[in-house]
Amino acid sequence: MDEKELKNIAHLAKLNIEDKEVSSMLNDFSRIVQYVDEIKNLDTTSVGDDEIYEQIFYELRKDLAENALKRDDLAKIAPAYENGYVVVPKVIET
């Protein structure tokens, strides 16, 4: 792991790393990766790809209409609310 790789991972995770944090983060991160690397010593060839899905007990719910959240209640907790809409920043860039 080097600075370039760390910054790429941070970019994918939408986190900024300041230059002064780079060396301590690289150090922590390398140690953690080295630590989890231990699993490479474990032989997992006996495990099939399909086995990673645990036994499940799913039961589908009935397709019934239920009361959803009320608009007035949502208006009270929204950071900004106007004319029946929650106001958010512009998320489409042109």
Binding site: I9, K14, I32, V36, L42, T44, I52, E59, R61, V91
Partner: protein, 488 residues
Amino acid sequence: MKDLIYLTYSEIKTKLNDGSLKSTDLVSAYIKRIETADSKVKAFLEFNKEQILKQATESDERRKSGKLFSEFDGIPIGIKDNICITGQITSCSSRILENFRSPYDASVIQKLKDKGFVLFPRLNMDEFAMGSSTENSAFQTTRNPFDTNRIPGGSSGGSAAAVAASMLPVSLGSDTGGSIRQPAALCGIWGLKPTYGRVSRYGLIAYASSLDQIGPFSNDLQGISDLMEIISGLDHKDQTTAKVAAFEANSVSSIDWKGKRIGVMKSEDFSFSPDVNKRYAEILKTLESKGATLVPLDFSLLKYAIPVYYLIATAECSSNLSRFDGIRYGLRKDGAGKLEDLYSESRTAGFGPEVKRRILLGTFSLSSGYYDAYYGKAQKARVLIRKQYAEFFKKVDIIFQPTSPTTAFKVGEKTKDPIQMYQADILTTSVNLAGVPAISCPAGLDSTGLPIGLQITSSHFDESKLLSYAKSVSELEVCKLTLPTEIA
């Protein structure tokens, strides 16, 4: 008469129902205790006196008019700050959710309200439940009531410390890798992680969805059994809840140790602190003297549990926490008008160092070129761990281990070294990976007066057996301890 705050959960339940105790008197006593003791313990992020007293008054009125919701009506319960309650802030002890108010109740909260419990939100935790000491809270470090220079364990440190400091009889926490059992052990109380799928996660703010479970803390075992019955069950709002026979609190009864096969660690694997080693050996000797058969199990595979846990939990957290983008929830930085910058600046300002570390590790193990070697490999290793437990339960009835390798460590002792902190969970994470239930039972004090915890693990959905063994453990003299009255 015993001060109300030192009553056990069972005593409270009995007194409320025989009319010798009013919920308002009990709740007022707890409020007074919180007002004096919590300046030292710092278990509560917030508590609203008027709102809490109003619930207690309503409960007393229901009782007076004979319209009780249940036999639990009026019992106070603390709530960890990652379980949603309508209209309340649910911050996960994070800046990014500092002002987030939930528009709905978690399923467990709805169940508690239906029974008439008096809810005491909001108990401190490691940010997004990531930590083993409650030092990762963005707001305050909770202290251990037995010694306030020490940590209470984590991540549900506030929930554990509030009960241990006699500020509440019971509380709810969540356990992803040990976050109920480890603080229960370090604070000298009971804490249960139910089988994965037993309790609905609807309204629990997700950290690692395939591992998270909500569970109870209590100052006696009856509180654990009762809460388990109340909060568990199939929930159509959480598709991972299981359709299995309901757990019933009255199915719990003491066992006869004679002939029971108890899975234990080999003595050469006792690499814990001397006091923990000693107490564990004493307990095993006691059980043997009562006729139980000790069966040493090979736990060597479980040395991989922490690496496997950190790869799987962080991968899931990097995905779960991607929803915190500054657009829809909590903290928002303006990003100088650029969307990408708004995301990254909001997240960078909103998350603390440990959360960032885990998001980065998770993003790394899921990224192109590393997926098979890390995340994929960890998933397969998890299968081996699950199979290992299945093998264990062919040989033994139950497994006994210490909950934590040490008693409570000092505040600041492990914060500089993430790996050392991760090691605190060495005995608890494999239980979450396998999905089986486990409880931490108080197991007396060490030579310096700090609590030791005993972890009991059973097979999937066998909480009745698990709690029956726990009940018998509660009767052992070697496991007795008293919670502190003075907080220093």
